[in-house]
């Protein structure tokens, strides 16, 4: 099963993106000329690698022995009883090494970088999960890692900053703009423009210029390949709804991909509603955004009438981003993936509910999906099945969650 996870099949979902990197009207390669040649080279290298059985089996092996795949599909019985509706299953990406789904993509791209002869890795990080996964895998491969992180995120995710440094990565704070994920991406792209000959940029989400959205999706496809087989084994049928949180969109597209051509399965992406859908108070691109171009692709963005990118807010650093992956934009318009949002308050409620009912502390990012999924499960009858992607664990968030709930932790 795992060795074929990079091979495109004949179904419609594999037809996107087109060779220009377009998902319908979205995506593309909106980057400075300096990056075009490296991106085209990356696309060719990836295309070769994904078809190479050696690369496939190395990827599958590292997912197994280093990341800890397959992850479990867990029936949350106590929670299901509490909600009194549909059965709730959790896909346990939180059990992966370094604590989130991010490592699937990092392993794939690190293998690719090594194959391309690159010796230096750069990455951006918001919550610090992608940075932590990158630091870990680079330590494992002996690659030099430089991680860009907004200074505001360094404060709210101080634990992850320390973890990255412990594993030998250099963490560079970014002080521009609102000092979060978007500024970290700008800075990583500037570094890449300057050091492109020896450096690979491990972009951490299904975003940016082609081939990133496609490549990152492919590396996370394993989530839904596993969940589909596990669900068939557990329930003898497919779930009625799959729910995932959407920052740039990597855990969501990985969780949805194998269900895209299954019309009976409803797919819902949950964005960060922050303090409500008002300018600067949220990161729900489909609720408050318009189509535009940012950081390499055409997609839905939070922007003002003049095209300046607006500030965002979310209790979770990993969803605090002004744009959404282009594949999601396409399936949004096509009506195949529905999008909603959860506010900070709803998210913190779900964070506590899962902790209390199941003894599982979820990441604040994932708690957005939980908030939505719990509400859906409560509405649906007991013969329905809701699958929620638990994209990461909440250890990193305990500090900031406590603060958001007005609890002071003294050390």
């Amino acid at each position: 099963m795992a060795t074929s996870s990079l091979i495109p099949g004949p179904e419609p979902r594999f037809r996107l993106p087109d060779p220009r990197g377009r998902f319908g009207a979205y995506g593309g390669m909106f980057v400075p000329e300096t990056l075009m040649t490296p991106l085209l080279e990356l696309g060719r290298a990836y295309d070769e690698a994904r078809r190479d059985p050696v690369f496939q089996s190395e990827f599958a092996k590292l997912l197994r022995i280093y990341a800890g795949r397959p992850t479990g599909l867990y029936l949350a019985e106590s929670l299901t009883r509490h909600l009194g509706g549909a059965k709730v299953y959790l896909k346990r990406e939180d059990m992966l090494h370094t604590g989130a789904h991010k490592i699937n993509n990092v392993i794939g791209q690190a293998l690719l970088a090594r194959r391309m002869g690159k010796t230096r890795i750069i990455a951006e990080t918001g919550a610090g999960q992608h940075g932590t996964a990158t630091a870990a895998v680079c330590a494992r491969f002996g690659l030099k890692a430089v991680i860009y992180m907004g200074e505001a995120d360094m404060e709210r995710q101080a634990l992850n900053v320390y973890r990255m440094r412990l594993m030998g990565a250099e963490v560079r704070g970014v002080g521009a703009g609102q000092r979060t994920l978007k500024e970290a991406v700008n800075e990583a792209m500037r570094d890449w423009v300057t050091n492109v000959r020896d450096t690979h940029y491990i972009l951490g989400t299904a975003y940016g210029s082609h081939p990133y959205p496609m490549m990152v999706r492919d590396f996370h496809r394993i989530i839904s390949i596993e969940s589909k087989a596990q669900m068939l084994e557990a329930e003898g049928r497919l779930p009625d709804e799959v729910v995932a949180c959407v920052g740039g969109g990597s855990n969501a597209i990985g969780s949805f991909f194998e269900y895209l051509d299954e019309p009976s399965v409803r797919l819902t992406g949950v964005e960060a509603g922050g303090r409500g859908i008002r300018r600067g108070e949220h990161a729900a691109r489909f609720a408050g955004g318009r189509v535009g171009v940012l950081q390499g692709c055409m997609t839905y963005l939070l922007q003002d009438a003049e095209g300046q990118i607006e500030g965002t807010h979310s209790v979770s650093a990993g969803l605090d981003y002004a744009a959404v992956g282009p594949e999601h934009a396409h399936y949004h318009d096509a009506g195949r993936i529905g999008f909603g949002y959860a506010t900070d308050a709803e998210t913190l409620d779900a964070f506590q509910l899962l902790s209390r009912s199941e003894g599982i502390i979820p990441a604040l990012e994932s708690s957005h999906a939980l908030a939505w999924g719990f509400r859906r499960a409560a509405e649906l009858p007991a013969d329905k099945v809701v699958l929620i992607n638990l994209s990461g664990r909440g250890d990193k968030d305990v500090w900031s969650a406590a603060r958001a709930m007005g609890v002071e932790i003294k050390l």
Partner: protein, 268 residues
């Protein structure tokens, strides 16, 4: 012929390269930036690149990022930009090249943006995050409103791409002299001459070289091999240094451009 062609023809007749200046519109405020652009024109700049401030200028180094930030904080808007262009156009006939990002054009519609910029006096667009692959709609809008479309060639651009870029470009080719973002540099790329020669194999368009040129000696050296020399960060730094007294900024930038452009005086 357009202003850009005329300018290169005139410079050629004078036996020298063109001096292309870059500053950001609205830095430190709209009226002052118009005065700065006019001072550049008087001081010897042949072509005026006008940066349009964007919240996320990912192709720019720190100097230009801070300039864009100052401009946006100073209240620069699309309408403010048009005012700057109109004021500069009223005071000089030198070519105005807009240095911008795709989303700023796309937000109002590519057509409407091109129409408004042209009417305000712009001659060409250089859209930093729009390679030829994505430029179809933009090229159509530029053609319709008689704006030239300038494209960048980078040191990483292989010959086949240079040919493809030359096919869609007009005005001039902008060769970034080394991989990286904008900003002052103390050394110049050694293989500059080879890079320019490679571009000339694919196009008859003038080749301007930019990114990192900051001293009269560098201007002279680049002027030996290129049709135009672009100086940005060195001028933006002068604007930044006079932030506290905007009344003096135009004069100071004018003095700086005279000093730098002196390197391009008529060859013997």
């Amino acid at each position: 012929m357009g202003r850009i062609e005329d300018t290169f023809a005139r410079c050629k007749a004078e036996g020298r390269s063109a001096f292309v200046s870059y500053v950001c519109a609205g830095d430190p405020d709209g009226p002052t930036s118009a005065d700065i652009l006019l001072a550049l024109a008087r001081g010897g700049a042949d072509i005026l690149e006008v940066g349009v401030p964007f919240s996320d200028p990912l192709a720019d180094g720190l100097t230009n990022q801070l300039a864009a930030q100052r401009a946006l904080e100073g209240g620069m808007t699309h309408e403010g930009l048009l005012e700057v262009l109109r004021k500069v156009r009223a005071g000089t006939d030198k070519p105005l090249v807009l240095y911008t990002y795709y989303n700023l054009l796309f937000a109002r519609g590519l057509e409407a943006s091109c129409a408004a910029l042209k009417a305000a006096g712009a001659d060409a667009l250089l859209t930093l995050d729009c390679p030829p692959e994505e430029a179809g709609d933009l090229l159509a809008a530029c053609a319709k409103h008689k704006l030239q479309a300038i494209f960048i060639v980078a040191p990483t651009t292989p010959p086949a791409r240079i040919a493809a870029i030359a096919k869609v470009a007009s005005g001039f080719i902008y060769y970034v002299s080394r991989a990286g973002v904008t900003g002052e540099r103390s050394d110049l790329a050694a293989d500059l001459a080879a890079g320019v020669a490679e571009i000339r194999r694919h196009t008859a368009l003038p080749v301007c070289v930019g990114f990192g040129i900051s001293t009269p000696a560098q201007v002279r050296a680049v002027g030996e091999v290129a049709d135009g020399v672009v100086v940005g960060s060195a001028l933006v730094n002068v604007v930044a240094a006079n932030r506290a007294s905007p009344g003096k900024a135009a004069e100071a930038v004018g003095a700086k451009v005279r000093e730098l452009a002196a390197g391009l005086e008529r060859r013997p």
